[in-house]
């Protein structure tokens, strides 16, 4: 057992932390208030080789591992949940599947721009009528000569309004159930019939666009099919394994950011002639934060390490995601409490972490679904 992060990973984490503190933290609340996707931040991250960390160097990535990617995602979440979320969706959901399931030509055309950070990516599974029961989807693609014709609506799609490519799940064989789902690469800038119909106002994470998108007879050449027909669901399961690790890492980051704000405030804020951290009630809250964060981070790193060694991560990634997402919400809530009235104002970060954290228990599989997955893994 080795609990030390390797030197290279530590240097990368420290560099991204420095960048996040200097370049992102000062604008984190502003982009939230303005509901603004900060393209300039992602350009800068691309310049530092952050946008394709776990993607092979052959296609413009860094060639790093899942642990490195998790550490960086945590650092982004520590200052901005919105940037962390757009980043995690870009890497885990939009880029990674093309690397895993695409042809050489598809990787050159669609993966390279994502890995190099030329474009941000999106991934579309959820629909207005199909959430946790993701396989029950209406979006369908019908073959017409050497093309597919895509129709349907996807809901809550991160990055869709900014994306250079969207991986869209659609039914190609309505009678085949899970085996009738396929994945298509949609070019939102070029493909006729694609439309962003809504960009949602949300409780938090407003600098990360969450969209409803519609496909109206979108004609796709057959080289837009990712993998083979009917692979869509198996691909989804593999994609979500990595995705959950990134949401766990993002959650740990949110919790860490909230904890640091609470800890520093508690040491400075004086009431009854002493720092409030000297009162047991406040100290115990902060100790609990530390305990939960440490636990969630260990689960996250364990899942990432298992992923990197090629192991099965269904259970470990679900455990990490379930635990870390709850940690982030609980820690952020307590951080608001530690700051008292100030914690409720937008001049201080904890309220933002609190609002951002709530999504972690919903996105990429709700906590209820994670419990179902873990239960199944336990043979229950």
């Amino acid at each position: 057992m080795n609990f030390e992060v390797p030197d290279e990973h530590r240097m990368i984490r420290n560099t991204v932390r420095e960048f996040a503190d200097e370049e992102i933290a000062p604008i984190a609340q502003e982009i939230e208030d303005e509901h603004r996707y900060p393209a300039e931040v992602f350009d800068a991250l691309a310049g530092l080789d952050v946008m394709g960390i776990p993607i092979t160097e052959e296609y413009g990535g860094l060639g790093g591992d899942q642990l490195m990617y998790a550490l960086v995602t945590e650092e982004l979440g520590r200052v901005s949940g919105a940037i962390g979320l757009s980043y995690a969706a870009h890497v885990s959901l939009a880029a990674k599947p093309i690397e895993l399931f695409g042809t050489h030509e598809q990787k050159e055309r669609w993966l390279r721009p994502l890995a190099e950070g030329e474009a941000i990516g999106a991934w579309a599974l959820t629909e207005p009528g199909s959430g946790s029961d993701a396989s029950n989807m209406d979006t369908h693609a019908e073959r017409d000569g050497d093309e597919y014709v895509l129709d349907g609506t996807k809901q809550f799609i991160t990055n869709a309004s900014e994306a250079g490519s969207i991986l869209v799940k659609a039914v190609t064989d309505p009678d085949a159930g899970y085996d009738g789902i396929s994945t298509f690469i949609v070019d939102p800038r070029e493909d006729d019939g694609f439309e962003v119909t809504t960009i949602w106002d949300k409780m938090g994470l407003n600098a990360s666009p969450t969209c409803e998108i519609a496909f109206d007879d979108v004609r796709l050449p057959e080289d837009r099919l990712l993998g083979t027909e009917g692979d869509g669901w198996t691909q989804t399961m593999k994609t979500l394994g990595g995705g959950r690790i990134s949401i766990a890492a993002l959650s740990v980051g949110l919790a860490q950011g909230a904890y640091e704000a609470a800890r520093s405030y508690a040491g400075e804020r004086e009431q009854f002639d002493q720092p409030v951290s000297k009162f047991d009630a406040v100290r115990d809250m902060i100790v609990e934060m530390d305990r939960k964060i440490e636990r969630s981070r260990l689960l996250t790193h364990k899942a990432a390490a298992q992923y990197d060694s090629g192991g099965e991560v269904t259970k470990s990634s679900s455990l990490a995601k379930l635990d870390a997402s709850e940690t982030s919400r609980e820690v952020a809530e307590d951080a608001v409490q530690v700051l008292g009235g100030y914690g409720y104002t937008t001049d201080f970060a904890p309220q933002r972490f609190y609002r951002d954290a709530k999504l972690m228990e919903i996105g990429e599989g709700t906590s209820e679904i994670q419990r179902m997955v873990i239960g199944r893994e336990l043979g229950l």
Binding site: D7, E8, R10, M11, I12, T15, V16, E18, F19, G47, L48, D49, V50, I53, L62, G63, G64, G267
Partner: protein, 266 residues
């Protein structure tokens, strides 16, 4: 051309550090280590020169324990080609190295590497002597310029056109013949973040460990007429004025205060 950039890992004390009576140093648990701020600018300047001039090698040198490898590796990640780290049991045992000792050790490295240009930070933000660069120049008989905040290098002419920052906002424009030592001021450039690819590549770049004997130096290099007699936290006084009212009223109050203090006339 070869550029030698001297770098130092410095300790920074946490805000809430405690210094017991009689202690000669801040306890390790309050310290965090990082690259000296001025040296970051020196590294960036060296790397920029190498990017603008072909066949330029940038070598970093540090005097420090194994722990400092991570700091110096960050310089490698930002584009420094290779590094030298000097450490020795004899250095482990001394409380601090004075300017003379540092200059002697670095002079031995210069003799070994034969650089055309040596960049040092103006000072280190731990012991702050602000003298190593110039003492080194004196010892190796190089031309020198201190507190350089602008550098325009004429490689072919062997000349460095520099701006030196003097007191009171005055700048001196000087030409310095190479080989030279320049002590670099903060703000001369904008130090880059290391790219992740740079960090990965830096893992396999060379950091050559030297002991004093490798540089033909004895342990007596650390002998110093200086000794540290005490360390204490000075009393600090500060006053703050809080303006209250509408923005217009606050601006009036600020204007009045600046007038009183002689910052502005009127």
């Amino acid at each position: 051309m070869k550029i030698l950039v001297t770098v130092k890992e410095v300790a920074e004390a946490a805000d809430d550090f405690e210094l017991p009576d009689g202690a000669l140093d801040i306890d390790e648990r309050y310290l965090e280590y990082d690259l000296n701020e001025w040296d970051e600018y020196g590294v960036e300047e060296g790397v920029q020169i190498a990017e603008e001039n072909e066949d330029t090698e940038v070598v970093s040198v540090t005097i420090g324990p194994e722990r400092s490898e991570e700091t110096i590796r960050m310089a490698l990640a930002k584009g420094v080609d290779r590094a030298i780290r000097i450490w020795d049991d004899a250095l482990e045992d001394v409380a601090f190295l004075d300017v003379e000792a540092r200059a002697r050790i670095l002079a031995a490295v210069v003799a070994e590497e034969d650089p055309d240009l040596v960049l040092t930070g103006v000072q280190a933000n731990d012991d702050g002597f602000g003298a190593t660069g110039i003492a080194l120049a004196d010892r190796i008989d190089f031309e020198w310029a201190a507190v350089v905040n602008h550098l325009d290098l004429d490689v072919e002419g062997g000349l460095a056109h520099v701006h030196r920052e003097l007191e009171g906002g005055v700048e001196e424009l000087t030409d310095v013949e190479l080989p030279a030592v320049l002590s670099i001021q903060t703000g001369i450039n904008e130090p880059r973040y290391a790219s992740l690819r740079g960090i990965r590549q830096a893992q396999s770049k060379e950091i050559v460990p030297y002991e004093l004997a490798d540089l033909d130096l004895d342990a007596d290099v650390t002998d110093s007429p200086l000794s540290l007699t005490s360390m204490y936290e000075p009393e600090t006084e500060s006053s703050a004025t809080v303006f209250e009212g509408s923005p217009e009223e606050e601006a009036d109050q600020l204007g009045e205060l600046l007038g009183e203090m002689g910052v502005v006339e009127g």
